[in-house]
Amino acid sequence: MTPEQARLDDSLPDADADTEHYYLRLYVAGHTAKSIAAMSNLKRVCETHLAGRYDIEVIDLVQNPRLAAGDQILAVPTLVRRLPAPLKRIIGDLSNTERVLVGLDIRRKVDVS
């Protein structure tokens, strides 16, 4: 599925998306500078755009290596949007807020409002 298609598919439920709950999972590998940066960046974005309707689960692959294969994690940090569907994957330390918003499908809504 191309990102465009994904967005089109999303467009219907997006009509009343304000109430949508975001289940996010952040995969990191140890307490590196990148993982710490990613965590704080994610918090910031979520508080700004998804206040009150998000859950973040942080998984440290160093402690739980088994989980890496399940969500097809290659790069770390990886942020996985488990809900709402479809599954989205964003890699990097989330320092580029613009791209994080696009990746999480929040960007478009910001534009609309």
């Binding site: 599925m1 191309t2 990102p3 994904a6 995969y27 590998a29 140890g30 990148k34 940066a37 990613a38 960046n41 692959l61 160093v62 290596p65 088994r66 890496a68 294969a69 097809q72 994690i73 290659l74 790069a75 770390v76 940090p77 990886t78 599954l87 989205k88 994957r89 964003i90 890699i91 990097g92 330390d93 989330l94 320092s95 580029n96 791209r99 994080v100 696009v102 990746g103």
Partner: protein, 561 residues
């Protein structure tokens, strides 16, 4: 890994037949090896074989990290080769991790690394205690991430990590333009690079592999053909061994009494090579059939590589001369490997032969006919040379038939390989007096004196029979000419017999006459003797009478006195 090694580099056997020979033991243990080649040339299979053999034969569990195929697809794909990946996974000898790289699902937002890959690989390695790793095809990562600088740094780190963990790894890479792999992986993996190739020449495909480099070890440098079939991968080391090899003093029968007699010591040496050349229809296959039949009768295993006829055809045709090869096939002593020459390249034929010989382990092999192998002369020649070498190195007696073009005195193929052959029997058609007769003669037979005669042979219901030659003032006669000559001789003999009988009778008559004369004389003699006897008796009687008379006179005189 940079510590100097006085002894030989530790190696990790792949278990791929022939390949370890080329590598002089195996892949460099504890290091990554790059296996590259174009699509469909067997990279993945190479990796899988390496792992399966490691797990099942060398007690080294492995990890297969697939960047292309899903684990279940992979298992299904190699199941046809007899590899049960699911079972290996279940018994903890193999771990398969499918790494899915989907560009569209990945949004890059700042700095990242591929620690996830390391974690996964590390976890998989630890879960089975892996000593071997296959990364197939890691270049797929380049399609999933835009930041190639990060990727390259991470790959470098990955290969260093593999070395640090002492894992023997195969990394596959797609052949790229102007370099071995698309992304220049050879830059990172320089210990051992193997290039697979799938070449099409004259519509015939041949798989080949070459060890491009092998740091710290000698290796075979040629291009070696390899096979992928239901038996897995087998590589044919084509470099022939030396000429020195143990030789056998044993003589084995050619299966035709007359031919054995022509060879003086009763047949061919075991392990020798025999060339049977002749034009079409001279009975090459039939003589080969006799040879095989004789070997099977002795309880030896035989193999026929047939390029022109199928197994059933050969069996049926040979039944007409009283050879039942079917029974040997059923007894498991004989195997046919029939394939069209054009089905594979020459190398592939050789490789298949190599593999079949390994599996069946025959002591007699018939190749019928070698002239069916077509290609550039040089290639055909080297192929045949290696074929002969292959058989000789295993002590297998090989009989090669060769079809010569009718009319030509010497065929190129015959000429080229005749020096490799220990025995060379040529079959000829002799056309004369409106008929065609088959004759054969032994051109050479190394290590044995042999008849210099050209012998006619016939195919009878009971097999091939060599006929005593008629050598007359006009040369060797065959067929009807021989028959009429024989008839003439027969008539002459008959005449002679008559004459002798007649003279015998005359002599008998003369003896009778003489005997009669003897009898007459004897009778005369007897008569004379009777007469003499009678005279004697008369004389005695007279004497007695005279005596009596004188006595009577005396008595009378006495009384008168």
């Amino acid at each position: 890994m940079t510590r100097p090694t006085a002894i030989e580099l530790p190696k990790s056997a792949t278990g791929i037949a022939g390949f370890d020979d080329i590598l002089l033991g195996g892949l460099p243990a504890g290091r990554p090896t790059l296996v590259c080649g174009a699509a469909g040339c067997g990279k993945t299979l190479f990796g899988v074989t390496f792992l399966v053999n490691g797990a099942t034969r060398f007690g080294e569990p492995g990890v297969f990290m697939s960047f292309e195929e899903r684990a279940e697809d992979l298992a299904a794909n190699v199941a046809s080769l007899g590899y049960d990946l699911d079972d290996l996974v279940a018994t903890g000898k193999l771990a398969i991790d499918h790494v899915r790289v989907e560009r569209s699902e990945i949004e890059e937002t700042g700095q990242y690394d591929l620690e996830g890959l390391f974690v996964r690989l590390g976890y998989a390695v630890d879960s089975v205690g892996a000593r071997r790793v296959v990364l197939d095809t890691i270049e797929s990562l380049f399609s999933g991430f835009t930041d190639t600088a990060i990727l390259r740094a991470e790959l470098r780190r990955l290969f260093a990590w593999i070395k640090d963990r002492g894992l023997t790894a195969i990394v596959t890479g797609e052949r790229g333009e102007g370099q071995l792999t698309r992304q220049g992986l050879e830059e990172y993996i320089s210990d051992c690079v193997i290039l697979l190739d799938n070449r099409v020449v004259d519509q015939v495909t041949t798989r080949r592999l070459r060890v491009v480099k092998y740091r710290g070890s000698a290796h075979g440098t040629n291009e070696y053909p390899f096979l992928i079939d239901e038996g897995g991968i087998s590589v044919l080391p084509v470099t022939s061994s030396g000429i020195e090899r143990p030789v056998s003093e044993e003589i084995i029968s050619a299966g035709i009494a007359g031919l054995d007699a022509m060879l003086r010591n009763g047949g061919f040496y075991r392990g020798s090579s025999i060339l049977l050349s002749g034009v079409a229809g001279t009975g090459k296959t039939t003589i080969g059939g006799h040879f095989v039949n004789a070997a099977c009768k002795r309880g030896e295993r035989c193999m026929i590589f047939a390029f022109e006829e199928g197994a059933d055809e050969i069996c049926r045709n040979l039944r007409s001369v009283g050879l039942d090869l079917r029974q040997w096939v059923e007894a498991g002593l004989l195997r046919f490997e029939a394939a069209r020459p054009s089905l594979y390249g020459l190398e592939m034929h050789l490789a298949r032969m190599h593999r079949d010989l390994n599996r069946f382990d025959p002591s007699v092999v018939v190749v019928d006919p070698i002239s069916a192998l077509r290609g550039p002369d040089v290639e055909v020649h080297t192929t045949l040379l290696r074929m002969v070498d292959l058989l000789k190195s295993r002590g297998i007696t090989g009989l090669f038939t060769s079809l010569r073009a009718a009319g030509s005195l010497h065929d190129g193929t015959d000429q080229a390989i005749s020096s490799l052959m220990d025995s060379w029997i040529r079959l000829l058609d002799v056309e004369a007096n409106g008929e065609r007769n088959r004759v054969l003669y032994v051109i050479k037979s190394r290590g044995t004196s042999h008849s210099n005669q050209v012998r006619e042979f016939r195919m009878t219901d009971g097999g091939i029979e060599l006929i005593d030659p008629y050598v007359g003032p006009e040369g060797v006669l065959t067929g009807a000419a021989r028959l009429s000559q024989e008839a003439r001789e027969h008539a002459a003999a008959e005449r002679r017999r008559h004459e002798i009988a007649q003279r015998g009778r005359e002599l008998a008559r003369r003896r009778d006459a003489l005997e009669r004369q003897v009898k007459e004389l004897q009778a005369t003699l007897d008569a004379d003797q009777d007469e003499a006897q009678a005279l004697l008796i008369e004389e005695q009687a007279q004497d007695a009478m005279l005596a009596r008379n004188s006595a009577a006179i005396a008595a009378r005189r006495g009384s008168a006195e």
